[in-house]
């Protein structure tokens, strides 16, 4: 398990090192608004794998449903649980 706050913290870090604004990021913020792209998502997954020591499993999980930061957190939690 990994806390949602930790995932949001990682999202902020990934965006901030690219010089993007991170102050207003909330669970309901859309990825489009905060400019969080597929490459950022890929990096986030690697960082989570490193943090948890577990490989994420995306089989059978819907990518299309991800719109907000909250969706990212939910998606990651499912991928961690999905053995």
């Amino acid at each position: 398990m990994i806390a949602n706050e930790k995932i949001v913290e990682m999202i902020k870090y990934i965006l901030s090192k690219q010089g993007k604004m991170v102050d207003d990021i909330k669970m309901e913020s859309t990825l489009r608004d905060i400019n969080f792209r597929s490459l950022d998502f890929a990096e986030l997954c690697l960082r989570i794998e490193e943090e948890t020591g577990r490989e994420l499993n995306f089989e059978g999980i819907q990518f299309r449903a991800i719109v907000t930061v909250g969706d990212v957190c939910e998606f990651i939690q499912k991928a961690i649980e999905n053995k």
């Binding site: 090192k17 597929s38 490459l39 998502f41 890929a42 997954c45 690697l46 990518f63």
Partner: protein, 432 residues
């Protein structure tokens, strides 16, 4: 036997003794002299003792043996099988030069006088065994009037670069070699101080490793007149740093490969080589010919291995930058594919190395969801920048890479900051 004259008075300095060329080869000769059944075989001499291996190579030369020299740590099961399948007897020697184990070949191949097999350094896998002769190994044959130097030997026994140094001390007057029993750069350097080295040939990674371990004062204790770099891509940052530390030394960088020999030699202190050489080298058969096809370096060389007679694709990618041809590194195996966009890791590495904080780096791909792969970088910082907060550091480095024209997708997404440089046995950058 080579037509070149052995320089009997040239000396080799080991940790606590020196020996002339005249006396080399005798110890191994004495210890294995009774093994008569070896005569009809190719022989690979294996030891973990650098003196024994040096003595063995002179025994090989003086007895015209079809031989190879191998460091024991390099003799994996795979390499042992390769050598046995090439008809080599593998002779394991202890540090007294006595045979302690012998493996006999699985095929019988008639030995050829004067053939020397050279091992590639195996940076990217199992070493290859490349057939040479004393003639093709002695690429300095036009330099017999070079000034006398005491060379610090940094290369691993049996490799192409090692044979360059060995043939130099064998055949060029007034050359000496300082050979260490240790394989750590800092110990090799200490031997250079003790024995008064005046010249060194090494990889850039050897120097970067030393920069971490030795301060400026320690480095200046060796009064170098000649610095030669090879075995890896030589970039401007390493040339500039060496010029700063050793202002009176001549700095040469060499492009060489075991298959084609030492073919491009540059002395002007700039990375790459002048674009005119693509034409000039065509004027004489005695000099290697160079051409570029599809961005890759091709060479036709008089120093090629015995099994290469024509143009040879080095597999190295080059870029033309104004009036220079800059070698950036090996081809497809080192590309990162980020969502269909491909970039050679060497392009990213050479840009990273321009950053003033970065002493050394290696770039590689990591599998990642959605985009297939992302770029990762292991980095070693110069000592003075080691304690900077890593969070700001990543941003600073990324901003710099962007300012140098790297696209967003080609930027390293994951950095690992290492304390020391991982080395191969020949002091090259180690890739996993």
């Amino acid at each position: 036997m080579s037509v070149y004259k052995l320089q009997f008075d040239n000396r080799l300095f080991f940790d606590n003794f020196a020996i002339t060329i005249k006396d080399l080869g005798l110890m191994v000769s004495k210890k294995i002299g009774d093994l008569k059944d070896l005569k009809n075989h190719r022989i690979a001499f294996v030891s973990d003792d650098n003196f024994v291996l040096t003595d063995s190579v002179f025994y090989v030369y003086k007895n015209e043996i079809d031989g190879a020299i191998v460091r024991k740590e390099q003799l994996s099961d795979e390499l042992r099988d390769i050598l046995l399948n090439l008809g080599f007897v593998i002779l394991l020697l202890n540090n007294e030069g006595e045979p302690v184990d012998i493996f006999y070949p699985v095929v019988n191949i008639t030995p050829k006088k004067g053939r020397i097999s050279v091992l590639t350094s195996g940076t990217t896998g199992i070493p290859k065994v490349i057939p040479h002769s004393w003639d093709t190994l002695f690429t300095l044959r036009k330099k017999v009037d070079m000034p006398g130097f005491k060379w610090l030997l940094t290369y691993s026994p049996g490799t192409y670069a090692w044979f360059q140094m060995i043939t130099m001390v064998m055949f060029i007057p007034d050359q000496c070699l300082i050979i260490s029993s240790s394989n750590y750069p800092e110990d090799i350097w200490m031997n250079g101080i003790i024995h008064g080295a005046t010249a060194i040939s090494s990889t850039p990674t050897f120097w970067r490793y030393l920069f971490l371990k030795k301060n400026l004062e320690d480095l200046k204790k060796v009064n170098l007149k000649q610095i030669t770099l090879g075995g890896e891509t030589v970039d401007q940052s390493i040339l500039d740093k060496l010029k700063y530390i050793f202002p009176s030394a001549r700095i040469t960088h060499i492009y060489a490969a075991t298959e084609i020999g030492a073919v491009i030699i540059v002395n002007d202190g700039k990375e790459g080589f002048p674009i005119e050489w693509l034409k000039e080298y065509n004027k004489s058969d005695e000099r290697p010919l160079i051409k570029i096809i599809d961005g890759k370096l091709w060479i036709k060389s008089p120093f090629s291995a015995l099994n290469i007679n024509d143009w040879y694709c080095t597999g190295d990618l080059v870029q033309i930058k104004e009036d220079r041809v800059v070698i950036i590194g090996r081809d497809s195996s080192e590309f990162v594919n980020v969502g269909g966009m491909k970039i050679n890791v060497k392009v990213i590495e050479s840009t990273l190395l321009k950053h003033p904080y970065i002493l050394w780096c290696r770039v590689y791909s990591k599998p990642a969801p959605l985009v297939g792969q992302i770029v990762s970088a292991d980095v070693v910082l110069h000592n003075e920048y080691k304690y900077l907060p890593k969070e700001n550091l990543e941003k600073t480095i990324l901003d710099y890479l962007k300012s140098q024209g790297l696209f967003d997708w080609a930027l390293p997404r994951v950095f690992k900051f290492l304390d020391s440089i991982p080395l191969t046995n020949n002091f090259k950058t180690k890739y996993e």
